[in-house]
Symmetry: C2
Subunit: 94 residues, 2 copies
DNA sequence: TTTATATATGAATACTTGTTCATATATAAA
DNA sequence: TTTATATATGAACAAGTATTCATATATAAA
């Protein structure tokens, strides 16, 4: 495995390594949500959510669509769901 | 999803979120290895590897067996391999 | 018991990162 | 254009963490 791939992979998993982002991902498992709704569900500020969504976007964990002034976020692809669920299986078995 | 499960899941992914630990996991995909060999392969000190192995142990990502004074580490279960490989698939597709 | 080898650990430092606060940007309606 | 609403972003601070260095522990051989 190349060094660059090692670093990219660690960076990729860093995105899952925060409880706010885990809450966002968990919320998006069911349906797309806008920033305001996510802030409400996660229980933090719009700013904090927005910062975290930027990280999720940059790492291709979420995608988004605009409807007028509202931006709806959803999970990018099936890998994200797979990894999330595998992780959950693992911790449930301990 | 319960709050405790959220935090546990974030903690679990934190373990993958470091390039030294990713290198260790990548090395252990093929076969069990002792601390000294891991240090050589990863390219860091015995102490650094030992510190990281402790984290990997505590999170049940690796298991170990002792042979005289040497301790051989290996991946704990198939979830670890699955998550690692899914992550790698994801970054390869970007 | 003494010595050698393999591994583990505690403390300190440097670095990274999530949140907050204030503010900026973007779109739509009036 | 002005106003309102939704979202994004920059800077600063606090909290967490990986490595290094020194040292401790554990097992086996002499």
């Amino acid at each position: 495995m190349k060094d660059e791939q090692i670093y990219d992979l660690a960076e990729f998993f860093k995105v899952f390594a925060d409880s706010t982002r885990i809450k966002i991902i968990a919320a998006l498992l069911e349906k797309e949500l806008c920033v305001f709704e996510l802030a409400k569900i996660v229980g933090t500020t719009q700013s904090a959510i927005s910062h975290q969504l930027r990280i999720l976007k940059q790492s291709h964990l979420v995608k988004f669509r605009r409807d007028k002034t509202t931006i709806y976020y959803s999970l990018d692809d099936e890998h994200i769901k797979d990894i999330f669920l595998k992780g959950r299986e693992h911790i449930e078995e301990i």
